[in-house]
């Protein structure tokens, strides 16, 4: 793909996300889609983290744990310490990254299903911990969290309070979409950097990579920390939108879904998680009208896609390219 084409593609994507979608919602009057698409953007961010762990050859079913942790960190800081939400957002991410370094040091030595299972258990541990700790308020959760306020330095408003916008839903959508664009731009940069190439070497053969001098332990931890950081900020953002968090806000099902988003989009493509999340989450929402057949249709389509395109949706283009050659 030429550079010009690539820039055009990115511009088209940005135009659709920031102009096309609001216009379409305005025209169709389906205001509820804002919430759906905001969720898609945030889930895509968390899935991007999972994708990065796939990139170093690990199956991560533990992103729900970090989303939950990030959500609780933000909620507790806002409610009990009175922090501004926008300040808690990076703090939640960094907190998750630090936790993931501690947890990752022992468990990143595991591979294959062993790592997958431990991370799955991690999600349950996070949920049960949230239930047991006093600061998280148990099963009742933390509710009526205020909407994000404004950020100002020396009287200069950097980020206006979210409720000064006429439409809170639209504001949240734009914020989430912007966050998603930033995250995926960063991911693209990361994957095409030196570290990205090294990560690819881990995916193929860790021993070989190690033998030619790649510091695999360091690289694994870095990738896992970034992954958990993304999970944390996605979780914190979710809490700001729903204004509440419970131990059941992110469970094993969510962790599995994050992983499925990556698979569905295609593990070989950086932007796979966006497409995968859009298809899975939005598709589920669209099928709501089919009532009790919702799950049946959804799962049938899912199975059909995976049987026809086992390497993800984006592999469609690959096949075309291969036959054209």
């Amino acid at each position: 793909m030429g550079t010009g084409l690539r820039i055009a593609g990115v511009l088209l994507f940005l135009a659709i996300v920031f102009l096309g979608v609001p216009w379409a919602i305005q025209a169709s009057g389906r205001w509820d889609f804002y919430y759906t698409l905001t969720s898609v953007a945030l889930l895509a961010i968390a899935s991007a983290g999972v994708w990065l762990t796939f990139y170093i050859g690990r199956i991560n079913i533990g992103q729900g744990a970090y989303a939950l942790t990030g959500g609780y960190v933000s909620a507790i800081l806002v409610m009990q310490a009175g922090w501004n939400f926008w300040l808690t957002l990076p703090v939640a991410g960094i907190f998750c990254a630090l936790v993931s370094v501690l947890i990752g040091l022992p468990i990143l030595r595991l591979r294959g299903v062993y790592f997958a299972m431990v991370t799955l258990v991690l999600t349950e541990v996070a949920r049960l911990t949230a239930l047991a700790l006093p600061i998280t308020n148990g099963a009742k959760g933390i509710t009526s969290i205020p909407l994000p306020g404004e950020v100002s330095i020396l009287g200069l408003t950097l980020i206006p309070a979210i409720d000064t916008f006429g439409d809170v839903k639209l504001a949240f959508y734009l914020v989430a979409a912007a966050l998603m664009v930033i995250v995926f731009a960063g991911m693209y940069r990361l994957v095409n950097s030196r570290i990205g190439h090294l990560c690819r070497s881990l995916q193929q053969n860790e021993e070989l990579a190690s033998s030619i001098g790649v510091n695999i332990t360091y690289l694994r931890i870095v990738a896992y920390a970034i992954s958990s950081f993304l999970g944390g900020i996605a979780g914190a953002m979710f809490v700001a939108i729903s204004q509440s968090i419970y131990p059941s806000s992110f469970t094993v099902v969510d962790s599995v879904n994050f992983m499925l988003n990556c698979f569905l989009g295609g593990l070989a493509y950086v932007f796979g998680p966006i497409l995968g999340t859009l298809v899975l989450y939005f598709g589920w929402d669209l099928l709501f009208e089919t009532g009790r057949f919702q799950l049946l249709i959804y799962s049938s389509v899912l199975i059909l896609i995976i049987v026809l395109l086992p390497n993800g949706l984006l592999s469609v283009f690959e096949r075309k390219r291969a036959t054209a050659r």
Binding site: R111, M117, L128, V256, S299, I303, N311
Partner: protein, 289 residues
């Protein structure tokens, strides 16, 4: 004390049977069967229909559960897992398929059997009461013994039958087994059917005690994963050990920790993570599966 041990044994026998099916499928195909819990639930509903609704003898119902799941398992392997595994670049893709199948089975069970909790009449009445030190209903004892017998039968089958030997050879080294003339495609299907059948069998056994409902699938899968992890993925003796260990831990934990609230599973999970960090391959697994 006797009570706790008996409860642990009873739980462990069932858990081991669930874990056996899961570990068998994993050993043969390297597939983590997310739909295992749903297969278990389906088995429960088949027994509920045949024994509870149609009024046929319990053992006929149990046979129907096992047979249904064996057929379902064989079809899933032949028409879903085989083509996907053959064409995907990374074999983890099978996880998406397994999860899709789990959703699909949930949907089918929801449409056919509904979301209500279902139970069946007791197969035998009465309670064993040994001096108030050990109190256990007879039907639980019967189910526990049946589970133990099934485990024993499975081990004998795997050790001495021709099919069992082929399956063990495949689990050890698929390519070598193929070179020795084992029809791996055929035996992968048989193995998958066998694993699904075990899940159906436990479902049928347990429906007489706990009943069955749609929501049981997911948690059952997670527990089965735990047991397999404790014992070592893809190792039959490990799955049995894992099942009994988890059963005991649950039984002991619920008694000891009940004073501190609902933290038994938190403790079990946390200790499992520590255990796996020290010994990644579980009790008996081979390193890196």
């Amino acid at each position: 004390m006797e009570q706790i041990l008996a409860n642990g044994l009873y739980l462990g026998a069932q858990y081991a049977l669930i874990a056996l099916g899961l570990t068998l499928i994993f050993a043969l195909m390297n597939v983590l069967n997310f739909a295992h819990g749903q297969m278990y639930v389906l088995g429960g509903f088949v027994t509920y229909t045949v024994y509870g609704q149609l009024g046929l003898p319990f053992f006929v119902a149990l046979g129907c559960s096992a047979l249904t799941l064996a057929v379902v398992g064989a079809l899933i392997e032949r028409f879903l897992f085989r083509p996907v595994l053959a064409r995907s670049h990374r074999e983890e893709s099978s996880m998406l398929l397994a999860a899709g199948i789990a959703f699909f089975m949930d949907a089918v069970i929801l449409l056919v059997f509904g979301e209500k909790q279902r139970g069946v009449p007791k197969i035998v009445g009465g309670v064993l009461n040994w001096d108030f030190r050990l109190i256990m209903p007879y039907d639980r004892i019967l189910i526990g013994v049946l589970a133990l017998l099934s485990i024993a039968a499975f081990i004998l089958f795997m050790s001495y039958s021709r099919t069992g030997r082929a399956l063990r050879a495949m689990a050890q080294d698929r390519v070598a087994a193929q070179l020795m003339g084992v029809d791996v495609d055929r035996y992968a299907m048989i193995g998958f059917a066998l694993g699904a059948m075990l899940a159906g069998l436990v479902g049928g056994l347990l429906v007489t005690i706990t009943g069955v409902n749609l929501g049981m699938g997911g948690p059952t899968s997670i527990k089965a994963f735990l047991m397999v992890m404790i014992g070592g993925a893809g190792v039959i003796s490990g799955a049995i050990a894992g099942g009994f260990i988890l059963g005991m831990m649950e039984s002991v934990g619920l008694t000891l920790l009940s004073a501190y609230g609902d933290i038994t599973y938190l403790v079990i999970f946390a200790s499992l993570m520590v255990f796996l960090a020290i010994r990644p391959q579980g009790l008996m697994g081979k390193p890196w599966g």
